[in-house]
Symmetry: C2
DNA sequence: GAAAAACCTGCAACAAAGTTGCAATAATTC
DNA sequence: GAATTATTGCAACTTTGTTGCAGGTTTTTC
């Protein structure tokens, strides 16, 4: 009932599609996934368009973050362990292509770069070799 | 003749299309731009496909960097003032949508997050309000 | 400089991501 | 449970980016 509670708390209609999408994200074991993957997991239960719109709602309610784009597709993950100003960094292996969430790596927030700029959010992506490929 | 020299040095064929694309990037005044913008600037002189393939060549030769994706399109810029391991950070205004290159802001390279990970490259994106919108 | 080799380019066709409008359906509210 | 409000499915569409192949340029070689 975790998912149901999250939706309630965010003031969103609690629909079958939303529960299913949140479940997909929960089962992604912390890895950002893309709409087409979710769509494939849900089979014919829900339309592709519904998945897109559902993700939009969830992002808008700040339950889900649009993390990055890869292979021409946005990747999403549950907004766990993220502060308002900074999500955890992500590490993508240049060899196997897998992405890891570095939830334990803290990176200091950048200072305002020039007079007048107000930094609200910082996103860090690392690239390199993961332990399996190194 | 700047562009011509760059291509020569990189060992690339010096073609009209490549000179034109490099010129577009030079004239972008340091802002990352997307292929469709370049294509529009070049008018009917070159095919859309040629722009994509030209950018691929330039990226492959490390003359140009694929900086980030926005509005479902890759954005490119000349590989000026970038170290091997880190490009300058980019700042995108959440209000007006403009992106600024923060060439003067130095961000320390992240340490290897866990035993076994080898970090080769780091990318930082900042979001917030630019001086015009703040 | 001309011929040969190596490499680019345009065209057409295609694939995939994401968006929009609208009618039908489901979740809340009272 | 009826009225209200929000969500969903479908079809059609836009845009980005890719591929194959024939024809055209740039370099290299002599």
């Amino acid at each position: 009932m975790e998912a149901r509670a999250m939706l309630k708390a965010a003031g969103l209609y609690c629909t079958a599609a939303r529960l299913a999408v949140v479940d997909s994200l929960l089962q992604a074991s912390g890895r950002p996934i893309k709409p087409s993957t979710i769509s494939a997991q849900l089979g014919t239960r829900f339309d592709r368009v519904t998945v897109y719109r559902t993700l939009d709602s969830l992002v808008h309610a700040d339950l889900v973050h649009k993390v990055f784009i890869e292979e021409r597709a946005c990747h999403y993950e549950l907004a766990h362990r993220c502060s308002k100003t900074q999500c955890h960094p992500h590490f993508t292996c240049t060899c196997c292509g897998h992405t890891h969430c570095l939830t334990q790596l803290k990176i200091p927030m950048a200072q305002s770069p020039h007079l007048g700029f107000i930094v609200q959010r910082q996103q860090v992506r690392l690239e390199g070799l993961c332990p399996d490929c190194a």
